[in-house]
């Protein structure tokens, strides 16, 4: 099976025959995937279908049992500074520093990435993610939706070539979801590659150029989102 988003020259993300096994359980059957700059692939499927496993491998957080995972032509490993400099991941909730405010968490990221004019940039991100009123709050006082916004803000406040998002729509209200879709479209337009796992057909349809539907670790359908969703809708 081959997942692709408009192959043009060398791919930013390339998975070749990647599979993952945990003990006896095959979490991901062999698949290929190719993602270029400025494109978006959406992974779609039920819980346990293998979406998160695939994202972890693509982001270098997990090693495939077989096959190769490449980022810009080199093996992807989250411990590689090159990867951490260029790949932003919005995944599970991470532990925050209990004594640093929301704004200070973003400042930490900008210091590490040497972001110019960081103060005004952080202000804009906070406003855009509806966190401006909570800028000086400690993370412990945030709701789960606000925490999700903080994690997204941390990915946006830094430079990136690839944005990996694992069900980012979770815990967001409908308005925030719409803003998320707009934001991901803008990311693509700016040349960032987006790899997205989602349960939301609307989000995939709006943002993705290519969609891969997974079930029990296997690709069951792929292609343009409208086609895949239509195909899935016709299945019993």
């Amino acid at each position: 099976m081959a997942g692709t988003a408009e192959p043009t020259g060398s791919a930013l993300v390339e998975l070749r025959g990647v599979s993952r096994t945990y003990g006896e359980r095959k979490a991901l059957h062999p698949l290929d995937l190719r993602l270029d700059a400025g494109r978006c692939i959406a992974l779609y499927g039920h819980n346990g279908s293998g979406k998160s496993t695939l994202l972890r491998i693509a982001g270098g957080r997990d090693a495939p049992t077989a096959g190769r995972a490449l980022f810009d032509g080199r093996p992807v490993d989250e411990d590689d500074p090159q990867v951490r400099a260029r790949v932003a991941v919005v995944g599970d909730t991470v532990a925050c520093y209990p004594d640093l405010t929301v704004r200070e968490h973003l400042e930490l990221v900008t210091v590490a990435h040497a972001v110019d004019d960081a103060d005004s940039w952080i202000d804009e991100i906070l406003a855009d993610r509806r966190l401006a009123d909570h800028a000086h709050a400690l993370p412990g006082s945030l709701s789960s939706g606000q925490m999700q916004s903080l994690l997204l803000a941390a990915a946006l406040v830094r430079p990136r070539d690839l944005l990996i998002l694992d069900e980012p729509e979770q815990r967001l209200d409908p308005e925030a979801r719409q803003r998320l879709a707009d934001l991901l479209v803008a990311e693509k337009q700016s040349g960032v590659a987006v790899l997205l796992a989602t349960h939301q057909p609307d989000l995939a349809r709006t943002v993705a150029d290519h969609m891969i539907a997974l079930e029990d670790g296997r690709v069951i359908a792929e292609g343009p989102p409208a086609v895949v969703l239509d195909d899935l809708g016709r299945r019993p």
């Binding site: 006896e24 260029r86 040497a114 972001v115 855009d128």
Partner: protein, 564 residues
């Protein structure tokens, strides 16, 4: 400019890739973090100081009586020299044993924690950025190494004092002899822990070989005891003295005690060089611990710390088990029971399957059963005051043997939703979980009693198995105990020796083994030497009564558990 527009600008900033010489901002990032977290660090320092003060206060309060007794004994001319002979004879085996224990503890600890445990926020926020990992991780390794030196130095001091008061060496010479081992062995343990934390292959080996290593340590404990009693195996001791760091550390002590260790300077040199090499290698390794490992370890350490503070020891154990890696390889299958009787055997099938998939538990149970028989037999052989001590230790080991087999009962009560499948009430279900530990416990007890029967004590074949039913029900009670009643820690008010609250809590926590061991010890004490048919009948009768009483308690506890 909207965030989307700004994202477009920013996204282009990394097109050229990241070059350490130009783009590394580790120093600035760490300095920024240190500055921002200064107040937090101060508060942490204050909390640590209070904790240390409390520990010192407790050590002084509870240890002063022992110290005064010891010093008064010295002042009044108590002769500890008699212990010295045995101590000196046991040094080679003792150091091998201590080295082995240290290595096993460090290696097992490194399966879930290890020398480099970075707090969760640092893994999530700091290590997710392109910072040099060595600058973040190595300070944690250095901290662990320094912390390991503290108990090492204390151990060395205690050893030197022991040599001094037993008249084997002047304190200065004893300290100098103990120092190389006291400083190097803990550092080597930290280096070993680093290797296990860093390399998945080492971690797998530790999981696989921990059981055999424990058996080896038990054998070494036996050798140490035998050597102390005068039964030495010189050739084996020579091998131990040269086989590794434990022996190299022992040689200056052997020499300080007047023993023969002509090569001790070479041994000390070997020890120092090996330690320096291992620590330098581990220091390099510290920067290469995968972030995925650090993420899991940070989460586990946080969970364990929080549940340990709330005295939920079971929750801590579960967190450690989860971090230790799940089932790997092929799962063993067992045909479920069918037909009318199948329903009644469902729990037995489930427990037997659990045991087949974790056969190490049966091995542990066998080990504890052997230790139980050994302790009780040794106590009976030694006689006098040591007889009841041996009996109590043996009974405790027996309880632990049965307890190791009762894990599925604890798994059941870890989350009561698991029992939703069952057509039985929880009280019935819990008692059914007693079948497998009861049957296997009786088998192990009979096997452990065989050597006594061969020696002419056939009633041991009855006395030992009759302890299994009360132990089984006591283990089930432990599973039904429910959430930690930490309020008990504050009961009882004050007394000249402190609050009895912690003891009350311990009594509640260990009520099952406490009651069963005490009652059985009282019953078995007169019968442990040359038991007769009447002794066996009396023990069986009382064990049956105790089992019935504990069963009623288990039923009530299970009902209460549902009310929580």
């Amino acid at each position: 400019m909207t965030a989307e527009d700004a994202g477009a600008v920013e996204a282009g900033a990394v097109e050229a890739g990241w070059v350490e010489a130009d783009d590394d901002r580790t120093a600035e990032t760490l300095a920024w973090l240190r500055r921002k977290r200064r107040a937090h660090r101060r508060q942490q320092g204050r909390d640590l100081a209070v904790l240390l003060y409390t520990l010192v206060l407790a050590a002084v309060a509870y240890g002063s009586g022992v110290a005064v007794h010891f010093l008064r004994g010295l002042n009044e001319g108590a002769d500890y020299g008699g212990f010295g002979e045995g101590l000196v004879r046991a040094v080679p085996a003792l150091f091998t044993l201590l080295g082995g224990v240290l290595a096993l503890v460090a290696a097992r600890d490194a399966l879930w924690r290890g020398p480099v445990v970075v707090p969760g926020p640092s893994v999530g926020w700091l290590l997710a950025q392109p910072v040099r990992r060595g600058a973040v991780l190595r300070p944690w390794f250095r901290l662990s190494a320094w912390l390991a030196l503290a108990p090492g130095a204390a151990g060395g001091l205690v050893g030197a004092v022991a040599l001094r008061v037993t008249g084997r060496a002047p304190i200065g010479e004893a300290l100098a002899a103990a120092l190389p081992g006291a400083l190097c062995l803990p550092l080597l343990a930290v280096a070993l822990g680093m290797a296990v934390e860093r390399r998945a292959r080492w971690a797998r080996a530790v999981r696989r070989w921990s059981g055999p290593a424990l058996l080896l340590l038990i054998a070494l404990a036996g050798q140490t005891w035998a050597a102390g009693a005068g039964h030495r195996v010189r050739a084996l001791e020579w091998v131990e003295l040269w086989a590794g760091p434990w022996g190299w550390a022992a040689q200056p002590v052997v020499r300080a005690c007047g023993g023969a260790a002509p090569g001790w300077p070479a041994a000390v040199a070997l020890l120092v060089v090996a330690t320096a090499a291992a620590v330098a290698h581990a220091h390099r390794d510290a920067a290469a611990v995968p972030t995925a490992q650090l993420r899991v370890r940070a989460a586990t350490a946080t969970t364990v710390a929080s549940v340990a503070w709330s005295l939920e020891l079971r929750a801590a154990k579960l967190a450690l088990m989860e971090a230790g890696g799940g089932q790997s390889g092929r799962l063993v299958r067992l045909r479920p029971p069918r037909g009318r009787s199948g329903r009644r055997l469902a729990v037995v099938w489930r427990d037997a399957l659990a045991l087949l998939r974790a056969p190490g538990r049966l091995g542990r149970a066998a080990l504890w059963a052997a230790a139980a028989a050994g302790a009780a037999g040794l106590g009976a052989d030694l006689g006098g005051e040591r007889r009841p001590v041996g009996l109590v230790v043996g009974l405790l080991c027996g309880y632990l043997a049965v307890g190791a087999l009762a894990e599925p009962a604890r798994v059941e009560t870890d989350d009561l939703r698991r029992s939703a499948w069952s057509p039985y009430r929880l009280r019935t279900l819990m008692l059914q979980h007693g079948v497998v530990p009861l049957v296997l416990g009786v088998v192990l007890a009979v096997l452990a009693a065989v050597p006594f029967a061969v020696r002419g004590e056939p009633w041991a074949l009855v006395l030992m198995p009759v302890c299994v039913p009360p132990f089984t029900v006591a283990a089930l009670y432990g599973a039904c105990r429910g959430p930690a009643r930490t309020q008990l820690m504050f009961l009882g008010g004050g007394s000249p020796v402190g609050s009895p609250g912690p003891l009350i809590y311990l009594a509640w926590y260990a009520a099952g083994p406490l009651v069963s061991v005490v009652v059985l010890a009282l019953v078995l004490d007169p019968a442990v030497v040359h038991p007769s048919a009447a002794d066996a009948a009396r023990a069986a009768w009382i064990a049956a009564l105790l089992t019935t009483a504990l069963t009623l308690v288990v039923r009530r506890s299970a009902d209460r558990l549902l009310e929580h």
